[in-house]
């Protein structure tokens, strides 16, 4: 995973998605902290599809792949390999 993707995704989540006063980091739990709601999850998957040209199967949008930005990056890595 390139550092550039990591930075871009974090920047997108922090500026466009998160409503949490604390900055979202790689390992922040996005779902229980309230930083991201269900619409936010959809917008993140759309961002991954549009910006990284990766097709995200709805079945892949699970807790295992999307609970943190680090998990999202690992998922992006696994499907772009």
């Amino acid at each position: 995973m390139s550092d550039i993707t990591s930075e871009r995704l974090l920047a997108f989540v922090n500026s466009e998605i998160s409503t949490s006063p604390e900055r979202v980091e790689l390992e922040s739990d996005l779902l229980l902290s309230g930083a991201v709601d269900s619409l936010g999850v959809i917008r993140i998957t759309q961002w991954i599809e549009d910006e990284l040209s990766i097709e995200v199967s709805p079945l892949d949008v699970t807790l295992e792949n999307f609970q943190t930005v680090a998990l999202m990056l690992a998922y992006i890595d696994s499907v772009s390999a």
Binding site: L31, S38, L39, V61
Partner: protein
């Protein structure tokens, strides 16, 4: 000295707090609530409810007090609600994801001195205790909050279990806060009687029984939660709690519904649409679901037809009723809706009187649209400490013989067909529904206007890609200010719950103006929604 007629082992519940002990006496070994790997039988739930009530009484809670409940969806949701009721108090949901400013307002407005919580909410409880002047005791944290009395769940389990403190059925059972047009949330007061009438009525309509597993979608501050909290225990059904992370991940949620063999689902269309579009429903066996209930919004008919194909054994029920009156109408369908005909909101429930009136307050002619007025035993007592809102919401009519009938003005415009089946037409005001939450556009515009760099703001609604409505906003900035979307969003999040923060913010040079130079909101909203469609 107040005394009440005794008798604990009643067959018919008189209070919401009777539901759990009565179910325990009938079917104590059956599951009452499940949350992922955890489960409580009715006997175990009864025991935990009894000790929590004991701990609350030891903490000084008295009949009629309002006790806050601030938890993520968990076993403690069910234990907390019934424990507070058993102590004779009324519960007040404090949304786990709402900004502290809003929670502080509610604790002060409602005089909440005691809050039930758990360790997952420790940080926001600390923040709330620092802000709030009224909260004096926290129940459910392992470590004490400085300056506030604290009881841990471990200490709760060692408290003296108590039987339900007897109050009257017309006494307060819960207060649910919802958005007001000025940004000040208003508290909807329900009594044991109105809550219990709703629970027993919906248990009867849907034939709930002890083999049912109710998928628990709604957070406590959302009025739909009373279905799983009360209708479930009244029938000895099991409530399957879907935690927040599952609700955000449709594929994980669909897998859980299937794995748990849920039999009844009840939520807003936007949640079903996410399951339909992103849940991979064709991968899962959902034949256990016998009732697929929705409410709060109109369900796009084509999407509903698609959804029904994944639930082969389910009858669909459109459930209608503002939080102020609980459920008052329903309409069942077993065949998918044809074409673009929306599912009606249907006919009145038993013990409900409906009337459709025009702007002049008179009943409209048959087939014409008008505002729906409701009179029912499931109706709220009023808004907490807001006689001005009560006066606007209730219409007291002198019926023949001098009897006073109290009608609730729903603000919903409906029409009836020849057979008396009602269809939702629209709203009397600018209230919209976003993922089932009531939102007044003026409320968000006012919150945006409070952001220092924003001079004017206009908020509208558009149909999002996920099929449900989304809020969008345009702002005119003060001269020289930067358009920093992230900063504006964060400032809004301090003032509004997450669902009310617009998903898209755009910059406008100026808005259309009226002849007197004021922002023409109607024209500006039309322009905004046209541009973002």
């Amino acid at each position: 000295m107040r005394t009440f007629a005794g008798g604990r082992a009643r067959d018919t519940p008189l209070l919401l707090s009777h539901l759990v002990p009565q179910a325990a006496a009938r079917i104590g070994d059956r599951p009452a609530v499940r949350c992922l790997a955890d489960e409580l039988t009715y006997n175990e739930l009864d025991q935990r409810v009894a000790t929590l009530a004991g701990a609350l009484v030891e903490a000084g809670v008295q009949s009629g007090d309002r006790v806050g409940i601030h938890v993520h969806k968990s076993l403690e949701t069910m234990v907390g609600v019934h424990g507070i009721l058993r102590a004779g108090a009324a519960y007040v949901p404090l949304d786990a994801l709402a900004p502290i400013e809003m929670l502080d307002h509610i604790t002060v407005d409602c005089g909440i001195e005691v809050v039930v919580t758990h360790d997952a909410r420790r940080m926001s409880i600390i923040e709330l205790c620092e802000t709030s002047d009224v909260v004096r005791h926290i129940v459910g944290l392992s470590e004490a909050v400085p300056g506030t009395a604290t009881t841990s769940w471990d200490q709760v389990s060692k408290s003296n279990p108590i039987a339900p403190v007897e109050v009257l059925s017309d006494d307060l059972a819960y207060v649910m806060y919802t958005s007001g047009s000025t940004g000040v949330p208003k508290g909807i007061m329900h009594t044991h009687r109105s809550g219990l009438r709703y629970a027993l009525q919906s248990a009867a309509i849907y034939g709930l029984n002890s083999d049912d597993k109710l998928a628990n979608f709604s957070p406590l501050h959302f009025d739909m939660s009373t279905f799983e909290m009360f209708a479930g225990p009244s029938a000895g059904a099991c409530s399957v709690i879907l935690t927040e992370p599952y609700l955000m991940m449709p594929a994980s949620c669909a897998e859980l519904l299937s794995r748990e063999r849920c039999t009844v689902t009840y939520t807003v269309p936007s949640v079903y649409l996410q399951l339909l579009y992103r849940g991979g429903l064709d991968q899962y066996d959902l034949s256990s679901v016998r009732w697929l209930n929705f409410g709060g919004e109109v369900f796009p008919p084509a999407a509903l037809a698609d959804l029904m194909s994944h639930f082969p054994a389910a009858t669909v029920s459109n459930v209608y009723g503002p939080a102020e009156v609980n459920q008052v109408t329903f309409h069942h369908i077993t065949e998918p809706p044809a074409g673009e005909h929306q599912v009606p909101i249907g006919r009145a429930c038993p013990d409900v009187d409906l009337s459709i009136v025009g702007p002049d307050g008179r009943r409209v002619a048959h087939g014409e649209a008008g505002e729906l007025m409701v009179r029912s035993s499931t109706m709220m007592q009023g808004y907490w400490n807001r006689p001005d809102l009560d006066a606007a919401a209730f219409d007291r009519v002198i019926a023949p013989g001098g009897r006073v009938e109290t009608w609730f003005r729903t603000g919903d415009i409906v029409s009836a067909d020849e057979s008396g089946v009602l269809t939702f037409v629209g709203r009397r005001d600018h209230q919209v529904k976003v993922r089932g939450h009531r939102v007044e556009l003026e409320w968000i515009e006012s919150a945006l206007g409070d952001v220092p760099k924003v001079e004017h703001a206009v908020v509208g609604v558009r149909r999002g890609e996920a099929g449900s409505d989304e809020l969008i906003a345009a702002v005119v900035l003060a001269p020289g200010a930067d358009f920093d979307v992230a900063d504006i969003r964060r400032q809004l999040a301090d003032r509004l719950p997450a669902y009310a923060v617009p998903s898209q913010l755009s910059l406008a040079e100026d808005f259309p103006r009226t002849a007197s130079g004021k922002v023409d909101r109607r024209a500006a909203r039309t322009e905004l929604t046209g541009r973002c469609r």
